[in-house]
Symmetry: C2
Subunit: 385 residues, 2 copies
Amino acid sequence: MGNEIKVPKGFKFYGTHVGIKKKRKDFGLIVADKVCHAAAVFTKNTFCGECIPIGKEHISNAELQAVVVTSGIANVATGKVGRENEYRIMECLANKLQVEKENILPSSTGLIGPQLPIDLIENFLKTESIEMKENYEDFAQAILTTDQQMKVRSLKVGDATLLGIVKGSGMIEPNMATMLAYVLTDAKIAKEAIYPMLKTAVDQSFNTISIDSDTSTSDTVALLASNHYEVDQIAFQTGLNQLCKDLALAVVKDAEGATKTMFVTVKNAVSQEQAKNAGKSIINSPLVKTALFGNDPNWGRIAMALGKTEGLIFDQNKVAVYYGQYPIFSNNNEEKQNISQILAYIEQNEDIYLTVDLHQGTEQFEVIGCDLSYEYVKINSDYSS
Amino acid sequence: MGNEIKVPKGFKFYGTHVGIKKKRKDFGLIVADKVCHAAAVFTKNTFCGECIPIGKEHISNAELQAVVVTSGIANVATGKVGRENEYRIMECLANKLQVEKENILPSSTGLIGPQLPIDLIENFLKTESIEMKENYEDFAQAILTTDQQMKVRSLKVGDATLLGIVKGSGMIEPNMATMLAYVLTDAKIAKEAIYPMLKTAVDQSFNTISIDSDTSTSDTVALLASNHYEVDQIAFQTGLNQLCKDLALAVVKDAEGATKTMFVTVKNAVSQEQAKNAGKSIINSPLVKTALFGNDPNWGRIAMALGKTEGLIFDQNKVAVYYGQYPIFSNNNEEKQNISQILAYIEQNEDIYLTVDLHQGTEQFEVIGCDLSYEYVKINSDYSS
């Protein structure tokens, strides 16, 4: 992946301040020249935002032409009024942009509870002119909330370009989809193929990360294809997987208050699901996360978190635990001779690789998490008040 | 419950420093005059301590005469040597105290991984005299680790006395049993009755609390009855339930770094289990816990945590959320007029009562948790290193 971000053919962007947040950009648009083939996956949270059911309906024919994001308020738990507000925004946009309302995917992110300042937004859309740009930056800025930075990646597959833009740094443990992530491409992707392709990529990327085990109410990953270039479908799937992995990792790297990223591989498990559940139990444990923050090679907490994994049966005599390449526990014995090297490994690296070998099968799975710091507590005890 | 702690007939106590911790007491004993009827419940963590399988075996005939606790090292993930060390301790004690080895319940609490300093302990037990006392305080001190204070409660049921001693302030989300809790009584309790009685009490008390969603590897709740006084069995069960509730609450009150206790009642649920799962999802959410620490009435996070509850289906239009007596969300609407009263309620109280009304059944359940503070991060990022 080069450092220069490439934008696929057929998409334009917009981002501005309409008055949801105090000062920062809070309203973003992606608009395609023509109707795209599209797919999306959404949060599994039952208490979901008003955008989610609308999005599910609008994506059902695998077509989209635009994405609108309001940030600062999530439009969750806002009832009928909240739902109507989304339609009022889409109504304005449909007129203004000459796009079918049913081809707009709406997203909102931010505080749960308050209503959107709909009069401000409507007034803005009715009176101000919207100049769509080739450059994605205003849009990528506009969708952020507690994020520290824009998270944008791109790559090429044959002639086609894939561009991914994601926001999210807290309330993140995707069950099916997570955060707001938009992947745009000018590749030709058939309507029937686009959802399975996205689902495959999301399961290997966004669904392997966890910042704080909390699943957001609004999150959405969408893929829009503007159908300009023929591509090899296998090469495209590989590229899409890679892009989604890069975006997911960018989210963990931007995790609220995090100082370290932990890659946990559970190997020689009976199934990938078993390996994933065990890995998630480890990266979600507050005690594992605080130990990581303290550069503490407290593998006992790894053992504890492994042991509390719902439904996981294993033989503790066979379990081995490694930090990087160094075993810290094997044959039911603490490998004390490695402690000083492991301490140095944890202190000197931002990316910590932990491997748990169950020695009971042949499957493995990697999940990605982060530490739990003072800063996480600060950010999240200060958020709304 | 009076303030004066009463000790049931037939038990003596001991607590001292043998050298597991640097300075503080780290070795405790409870010894009964005669063999007691007894029951115990143990951690569900698969990666359990070496004491747990021994304890299960020794309790299987519903008889115990002594409890030995080593604190500072948990004797978990220590393999054959760890198991043998427990037997070596019990061997010494059996000789010294004239108690059958099979009637001793061993517990260890503290760091996972290291071996017990068995030579130190054995040498102590072989050379020093042990003077058992009527007073429980040395024992209650000896079993502590990160606890801020001793946690001891007692009550009377007819002529009989119930005494409970508990330790624990982190790594706490009991699935079946939790922490180290010893309940002693001089009531007559039949062998067949003692386990069901304990299980009933534990399900209503220790199994309703969570400090950090982590389930310890060593935890044990044991009940020993020295069989001096006839009691009404229903009155005894009521008293036992109350004592276990008081002890569980004492653990939450002593939670690592906690500044507030949150009592979450989920009501009008389809089943108690549904209500409990929803409540646990709320009290275990890092975002709910950090908001509580920040005195932030961020009920949106309550909604999020409710919505992510595995398998919970509900109608968000019918959900209502109350802080204390004040609704903050009902009829899909934020009750803004109550915000200032709710803010005052949260700021001025240490015990916060949160009620979630699902409006879809008749069952309810209360769970108890606490906030997530800087201090929790500090304590747990500093623990072993």
